[in-house]
Symmetry: C2
Subunit: 336 residues, 2 copies
DNA sequence: CTGAAAGCGCTTACAG
DNA sequence: CTGAAAGCGCTTACAG
C-alpha cells in the first residue's frame, strides 16, 4: 500500500496537518520542521493521493487538452504532436498532468459532463475547434477555467493565437512583390479561425496591392495532405503563377499535384505556405513558409492557463504571438 | 455547484447508497427504483465526482498512455496519432478517460511516482519504449495493471504486438523472390523491440534463401524521416538493388535520398517498407509495405487492459496480431 | 432490495 | 508555528 500523510507525519513526529502544509508550500512552518518533514518525504518517495487532495481542496493539478478528433489533418499534420509535446513538457515542469480528449461527436455530451462536473480537471486547453463548436459556449457558461488556442470571433474568452492575418498577408505580399499576377490560395476550412484568418490575410494583401480578387483562384482544403493535393488539382487548370497555401502539410499535397501535372516549382508555380514545420526545410524544394512557434504555443497555453486558475477574477487574456516569413526555395526569386 | 449523490437521492426519494448502486450497475436494485433514479440522473445531467469515487472505491476510470518523448519519430510518424486515436476512441466507448504521459527523462521519477502512487490511474499502456527502460521494471514490480505495446524480451509482462519478425521476413522474401541479389535494409533502433524484431526478420529471410548476410548492406535509422534519409545515403554507395525499410516514415526519407542521387524507384532500387500508414498509398511511387493495424492496436490495448484490471489474478496476456504485405509500385515486379 | 454508517486520504478554518 | 477536528463526495460491508 502507498504511504499516507499520516505515515509521514508519524515518522517525522508531527501532525498530518503540518505535513500537508509542507507539501503545499505553506509559509507558516518552522524552517527546522519543514526540513525534517521534507527529509522523510524524500526518503519514502511519498506522493500524496491526488483523489483525496482533489476532494478536500477542489484541485487536481490535472489539465485537459481537447482536440477535435474529426479533423482529418490530425493524422498528417505534425502540428498536433508538436502542440501536445509543448503542452506536456510545460505541464511536467509545473507539476501538472495532461488529460487528452480527442473530441468525438458521439461522445461529446459525456466529455463535457466529465470535464465540467467530474472534478477531474483544474482547467482546459482547447485547440483547433470549429468556430461554432458548442463546447466553447459550454465552457464559457461554466466556471471551469479554460483557454483557446486560436481566437474566438464572437465569444469573449481567454485565448492564445498567432497573428494569422498578418502572417498570411506577408506571405501573399511576398509573392505579389516577386511579380506574380495570378496568385492563388489554398485555404484551410473556413469554419476554423486559423483557416478563416489566413484567407483574410490573403485578401488583405491583394487589396493592398490593388490586385483584383478572383474567386476561381481560391480552393478550399482541410489542413490535410490529401486535401492540399485535391485543392491543387482544382487550381492547376486556372493556371496560377503562384499559390499561397495555408499549411505546410497541405503544401506537401499540393507539391505532389504540381509535380504530377508535369509542372516545376517554383519556375511554373511558386509556393509559399504556413507553419514552418520541421518537414518544411526538408521538402523538395524546401518550402518558403510562415513560421509559427507551435511547441512554444503549447507551453505558453499551459502557463497562461495555470495563471488563470490562480487568478480567477482577472481580465481575459488575449495573447497574440508574432510570426515570421522564412524564405527558402519554393517561392523562387524575382521574376525579371 | 455540481450536484452530489445526496441531491439525486433526495429528488428520487431514496438513499445515496441506492443511487450509487444504480450508477455502478449493481444488480440488487428493484427495477422500478432503478428507473426512477436513472430518470433523475438523466434530468440533472449528473456526473459523479471522480475524485470521491477514486478515494472511496480505489478506481478512477482513467488509463495512462506512456510514450517516450525522446523518440524523434514522434513528430514525423503518423503511428503515434493513429495509436492515440485508437486508444482514445476505445476509452470513450468504455467510459474511460486517457491521461497522456510523454516520458521525458528529466521528469521520469516524478512520472513514476504519480503513476504508481497518486491513485490517479487504474492502469497504464506503454508504447515504443526502449527495451531496457526502467519504467517497465518499475511497473512490473508494482501492483499497477499495465500492458506493453510491443513485446518485452526478458520480463514477463502483458503485451500486445504485431508479428514483426514474420512481417519483415515476408517483405524481404518478396524482394529476394523478385530476383534481387543485393537486398539492403534500413533498420529501426536496435534497442526498441520493433526495430530489433524487424531486423531479425530480414536476417531470417536471407538465411532461408541461402543469401549471405552482408553487414555493409545494413544501415540503422531511428524511425524518423530524417533518419531514413541519412541511412539511405550511407547505403547508396553500396549499390543495393533493393532495400527493406523498417517503417514508412523512414521510407519517405529514403525515397528522397534515392531521388537526390538521381536513381529511379523501383528500376534502380526497389523498396519495401513497414506500417502501411495512410501516406504509403499516396507516396510517389506508392509504397509496397507491411500493413499493421495501428488504430486497432490502440483500441485493443485499452480493452485488454480493462480486462486485466477486472481480472487481476489471470495469466499474462500475450497478443500477437498478424500482418500482411501490401504490394504497390515501389517494389517493382519480377526481374526478367 | 434498501438504508445508516464507516471510511477512503487529504485540506483548512479554528483555536491556541 | 502547530494540532485536533470537520468535511470533501463517494463506495460498500453490514444489518435488516
Amino acid at each position: 500500500m502507498p504511504l499516507t500523510l499520516e505515515d509521514i507525519a508519524q515518522q517525522a513526529g508531527v501532525s498530518r496537518a503540518t505535513v500537508s502544509r509542507v507539501i503545499n508550500g505553506d509559509e507558516n512552518v518552522k524552517a527546522q520542521t519543514r526540513l525534517r518533514v521534507m527529509d522523510v518525504i524524500q526518503q519514502n518517495n511519498f506522493q500524496p493521493n491526488i483523489a483525496a487532495r482533489s476532494l478536500a481542496a477542489g484541485r487536481t493539478n490535472v489539465l485537459g487538452l481537447i482536440i477535435p478528433a474529426g479533423v482529418s489533418a490530425i493524422f498528417t499534420d505534425p502540428y498536433f504532436p508538436l502542440l501536445i509535446q509543448g503542452v506536456s513538457s510545460a505541464c511536467n515542469a509545473k507539476d501538472y498532468s495532461v488529460m487528452l480528449w480527442l473530441a468525438e461527436p458521439e461522445y461529446e455530451r459525456r466529455m463535457m459532463r466529465q470535464i465540467l462536473h467530474s472534478g477531474l480537471l483544474d482547467g482546459v486547453i482547447v485547440s483547433s475547434m470549429l468556430m461554432d463548436d458548442p463546447i466553447v459556449q459550454s465552457l464559457h457558461d461554466s466556471k471551469k477555467p479554460f483557454i483557446l488556442i486560436g481566437r474566438h470571433p464572437t465569444i469573449d474568452v481567454n485565448y492564445l493565437d498567432v497573428d494569422n492575418l498578418n502572417g498570411a498577408r506577408e506571405a501573399t505580399l511576398h509573392l505579389l512583390r516577386l511579380g506574380h499576377k495570378r496568385v492563388a490560395t489554398i485555404t484551410g476550412p473556413q469554419d476554423m479561425i486559423g483557416g478563416y484568418d489566413r484567407f483574410q490575410g490573403y485578401l488583405r494583401a491583394l487589396e493592398e496591392r490593388g490586385v483584383a480578387y478572383q474567386p476561381e483562384l481560391v480552393s478550399q482544403g482541410d489542413f490535410s495532405e490529401a486535401g492540399g493535393y485535391t485543392a491543387m488539382r482544382r487550381l492547376i487548370p486556372m493556371q496560377p503563377g503562384a499559390v499561397f497555401i495555408a499549411s505546410d502539410t497541405m503544401a506537401e499535397g499540393a507539391l505532389r499535384a504540381i509535380r504530377e501535372a508535369g509542372l516545376r516549382i517554383p519556375q511554373d508555380i511558386a509556393v509559399v505556405s504556413y507553419d514552418d514545420m520541421p518537414s518544411a526545410a526538408r521538402s523538395t524544394p524546401s518550402l518558403t513558409t510562415v513560421r509559427q512557434p507551435t511547441h512554444r504555443m503549447g507551453a505558453l497555453a499551459v502557463n497562461t492557463l495555470i495563471d488563470i486558475i490562480q487568478h480567477p477574477g482577472a481580465n481575459k487574456r488575449h495573447i497574440v504571438l508574432p510570426v515570421e516569413l522564412v524564405i527558402r526555395e519554393s517561392c523562387g526569386t524575382l521574376r525579371t
